[in-house]
Symmetry: C2
Subunit: 234 residues, 2 copies
């Protein structure tokens, strides 16, 4: 293999990482945009999020194409293969995060933006901000190969799950107190779940980043709190 | 390359497909089990589903390991690379289907099984049966390389989306009529969404199967009906 070939290969790997960074930036931007749509009761921003999702989808297709080309032409092994397959999986998580931001925007857009300013949405944007922080942190952890930051994200997901459970209960009380809020609250339940799932995708990316860095999977069965415990039999 | 090597390679590809078939069978079994748990008000079955999910996760890890080994050692190209990367993605969809069946079982298990027999769950099991049919059909389409069956699944997802929207509205009316049903109904909303998402994963698998068969992606932007249309601006 000539020095030229090695350089081209390195450049292709670098281009793949750049595409992931671009996709991550877009996903983070979409999430922050839908959150500010809510806090500012700005339907234009929600419309922007809905329209913007296709850009993320297009970058994902680019990443998939680059991955297939890289595997076919360069036949990567060991750490390079982990990087390439990791990029493929991170792209899938980022695409889902984009979908979840878009789904949140679509649900909100069904209601008058005055409703967005109700106290019912306040906990939603709080947990959304935490999810946006998780996303930013894990993208940095990935691009800088920072294991500590990846582990931080992995562990901090429990806080999102805890806040999600509290929000779930909060929304049920609004529904019980005033049946006229049921339809809006039901959609907010799903918006909350979307945010909680964005958090899960961030932990997935943290796991992939950690695997790329160490070559070992993270310990399984991280404590989870996203669904109330199942009653024992008997 | 000796005849012996080619045979070993073919066997490895075959083993990968077998692992997917096994995983698919397990996912289908889990989905059918949670549906019969509801119709028979049998909490033991729900517990079985919750416990059984780890088997699917284990097979997914096997598939991932086989894929990495295959790429590193055999350096597949063209159709073989499509098969290998397709298997990786299908395994990811099947793992999610298993998760969604387990999540449904966990949500139900929080309530007395007498509640499972309420009229509120009837539409849920109807849409669940349709999702189980989609899963069975798409697994057959994949293993038999049957493009028509893959397209059938891809197109039939609209019917799941339609039934999901009807069920969403139905559950809201139960909540409005009797606030005591709000907590149970809210969990049923998520169970319904789980089933709708299982349908989406089946269409993903249909797309991957079609891509393996034809080498071309399916046309994008299939009409979707899972979220009510967004009101136009102005």
């Amino acid at each position: 293999m000539t020095a030229h070939t090695v350089t081209a290969y390195d450049q292709e790997l670098k281009a793949l990482e750049n595409a992931i960074a671009r996709m991550g930036g877009l996903a983070e931007q979409q999430l922050r945009l839908v959150l500010s749509a809510v806090t500012e009761a700005d339907p234009e921003k929600a419309i922007k999020v809905i329209a913007g999702d296709q850009v993320i989808d297009a970058v994902q297709r680019e990443v998939e194409e680059m991955t297939v080309q890289l595997i076919a032409r360069r036949q990567p092994v060991a750490v390079d293969l982990r990087v390439v397959l990791g990029a493929l999986r991170i792209a899938s998580d980022l695409e889902r995060i984009g979908d979840l931001a878009k789904s949140t925007a679509k649900r909100l857009a069904q209601f008058d933006e005055k409703a967005w300013l109700s106290p019912m949405t306040r906990s939603l944007t709080a947990i959304g901000d935490l999810a946006a922080l998780q996303l930013k942190t894990v993208l940095d952890a990935y691009s800088q190969r920072n294991l500590d930051q990846a582990l931080l994200v992995w562990n901090r997901d429990e806080e999102i799950d805890r806040q999600y459970n509290a929000l779930f209960r909060e929304l049920l009380t609004y529904m019980m107190e005033d049946p006229r809020t049921i339809t809006f609250s039901a959609h907010l339940l799903f918006c909350a779940k979307n945010i909680e799932r964005i958090g899960d995708h961030c932990t997935n990316i943290a796991e992939i980043a950690a695997y790329i860095i160490t070559g070992e999977p993270l310990v399984e069965n991280r404590p989870r709190a996203d669904i109330a415990p199942v009653p024992s039999e008997g």
